[in-house]
Amino acid sequence: MSRLARLGLTGDELAELEAQLKDIIEAVGKLSQADISQVDPTTQVGGLSNAMRDDVVVPGLSAEQALANAPTTEAGLLRVPAIQ
């Protein structure tokens, strides 16, 4: 999970997290007792649908503004280590 979530945890951190997650997962295991045979899942509340916008172009940010918060840039592009 740590790898999948790119958390970069160290050995000790992993061990501690694993123990805590075990407790939490056991606790949320209570879900298995609920009778859910008659219900659909709820992914959103409020009952909205078809919230759309018209296909209209609106001005966004300049390249300078877009990169203003970026830690490493080069020639107007965001720089990241190579993909191995």
Partner: protein, 483 residues
């Protein structure tokens, strides 16, 4: 000699939609040529706290496409998040559709040589494009990548085909038919080089007649019709060689190298299958009413196959001509305008297919968008049909008008190339010539055939060369009957 293997091929096509704005924000969907990262906003940059708002035209375009591909449009559809880390994916997830796409269960019919093939369409769904990555130098050795997010969030339609193709050459044929349909619908520009239309393939081999599928290899990085066919041919051979020598085919993703003409195993992405899809909480679902679907269906244009058939039946042109004329809807419209303006259907087809099309191909423009208006071509065709302009002269004039955009008929007139075939007009000149050449007339009447030649010459001189000599000849014979 190896036993025969049957390839089982399915294509996944991604098509950028020709909307004005991006899928979930107001940035431009047309990003080519813009300075890097200048076509962005907080939403498509994935800045914290921003939210997507769906582009209604992208939804409409997808439903139109799905209907054209004979798909069913469910009444309820929703969006999901596909989670993975990649620097061209600003939010760390792509908004896509997982288990309830906008459309399912369609098919596409296309021709391979003389055969007509029908391949199933699993689904057509809507998602967002990612940004683009640049590498300093060679991709494998570059220490870093550079990210441009101008493309991030452009509406992307995914058309998943059933594994119904049975030969590498069926793949480009399928893709060409699909591309043509998308362009007819006006939802995609069909540009594979620039990547607005992209194609991946799944291929496995099995014994003919077997129902179980072999290990599936996904092939990527094919950016032309030719590379798709080459890559699939290469894969067929590679997999057959493996199987024939008793080895197994690994289920993996391979990339096509145009340079080396081989597929190369792409290091299988870790947790490749672990996208942790879940419903996108920021977007309410879409309810597509039957009325809406029927309205969109009514608004569909005539599609390529139907158009080809109708052109042949209505105008009596050949299958090849119909195929070329109907290549693009705009080309066929052009043809029908030429005919509507009075040109004969057969002559119009010949002129468009043989002459205008050649000029357009050389100049890389579409017939429907060239500088020669359909009515002008119609006038030219009519002049040729009426024998008032010779074919070779007409070709020259067409080429000039095509290049310069000059008025075709003005050119004909200005260059004095209109043949006068009107017998009333010519008869006046004949009378005038007879008056001035009474001896020649008498000689002809007396049996001297050569005398007719000098009379024709006299009429030609009077008409300043524009008289149709065939007509003049005939008029003189009528006027000077021999006993």
């Amino acid at each position: 000699m190896s036993a025969p293997w049957e390839p089982v091929i399915g294509l996944e096509v991604h098509a950028q939609l020709l909307t004005k704005s991006k899928m979930f924000c107001g940035c431009r969907a047309q990003y080519l040529g813009l300075p890097p990262n200048s076509n962005t906003c907080p939403v498509c940059l994935g800045l914290p706290g921003t939210l997507p708002v769906m582009n209604s035209r992208a939804v409409e375009f997808t439903i139109r496409t799905a209907l054209a591909l004979n798909c069913r449009i469910p009444e309820f559809t929703k969006f999901d998040r596909k989670n993975y880390f990649y620097p061209d994916l600003p939010k760390g997830y792509q908004i896509s559709q997982y288990d309830l796409p906008l459309s399912v269960d369609g098919w596409l019919e296309f021709e391979v040589g003389d055969r007509s093939v029908r391949a199933g369409i699993t689904r057509v769904h809507l998602e967002e494009d990612a940004g683009t990555l640049h590498h300093a130098g060679e991709i494998h050795t570059s220490p870093f990548s550079l990210v441009d997010l101008n493309r991030a969030g452009v509406p992307l339609m995914e058309i998943v085909g059933e594994p119904d193709l049975r030969a590498p050459e069926e793949a480009p044929a399928y893709l060409a038919a699909l591309r043509q349909t998308l362009m007819y619908l006006g939802v995609n520009d069909g540009n594979m080089e620039e990547g607005s239309l992209r194609c991946d393939a799944n291929i496995s081999l099995r014994r003919p007649g077997a129902t179980a599928l072999g290990a599936k290899v996904e092939v990527k990085n094919m950016n032309s019709f030719r590379s798709i066919q080459r890559a699939l041919e290469y894969e067929c051979k590679r997999q057959a060689d493996l199987l024939d020598s008793g080895q197994t085919v690994a289920q993996e993703t391979r990339g096509w190298s145009d340079l080396e003409q081989v597929t190369v195993s792409q290091r299988s992405k870790e947790e490749a299958q672990e996208y942790r899809y879940f419903p996108e909480p920021d977007l309410p679902p879409l309810l597509v009413s039957r009325d809406q679907v029927e309205e969109l269906r009514r608004g569909l244009p005539e599609l390529p196959q139907a158009k080809r058939l109708r052109l042949r039946e209505q105008y009596g042109i050949s299958a090849d001509q119909a195929r070329i004329i109907a290549e693009q809807a705009g080309d066929a419209d052009y043809y029908e305008q030429v005919v509507a303006a009075g040109a004969g259907p057969a002559a119009a087809a010949n002129w468009q297919v043989q002459n205008l099309q050649a000029l357009c191909n050389a100049a890389r423009v579409r017939v429907g968008e060239c500088k020669v208006p359909a009515v002008a071509l119609a006038e030219l065709v009519k002049l040729v049909e009426a024998d008032r302009v010779s074919g070779s002269v007409a070709k020259e004039v067409l080429a000039e008008a095509f290049a310069s955009g000059a008025n075709l008929i003005d050119l004909v007139v200005r260059r004095g190339l209109t043949q006068v075939s009107d017998s009333g007009e010519l008869m006046k000149m004949v009378e005038q010539a007879l008056m001035g050449n009474q001896k020649a007339a008498a000689d002809y009447k007396a049996g001297n055939d050569r005398a007719l030649g000098s009379l024709v010459g006299a009429v030609m001189a009077l008409s300043q060369g524009k008289a149709n000599p065939k007509v003049v000849n005939q008029l003189l014979r009528e006027r000077l009957p021999r006993p």
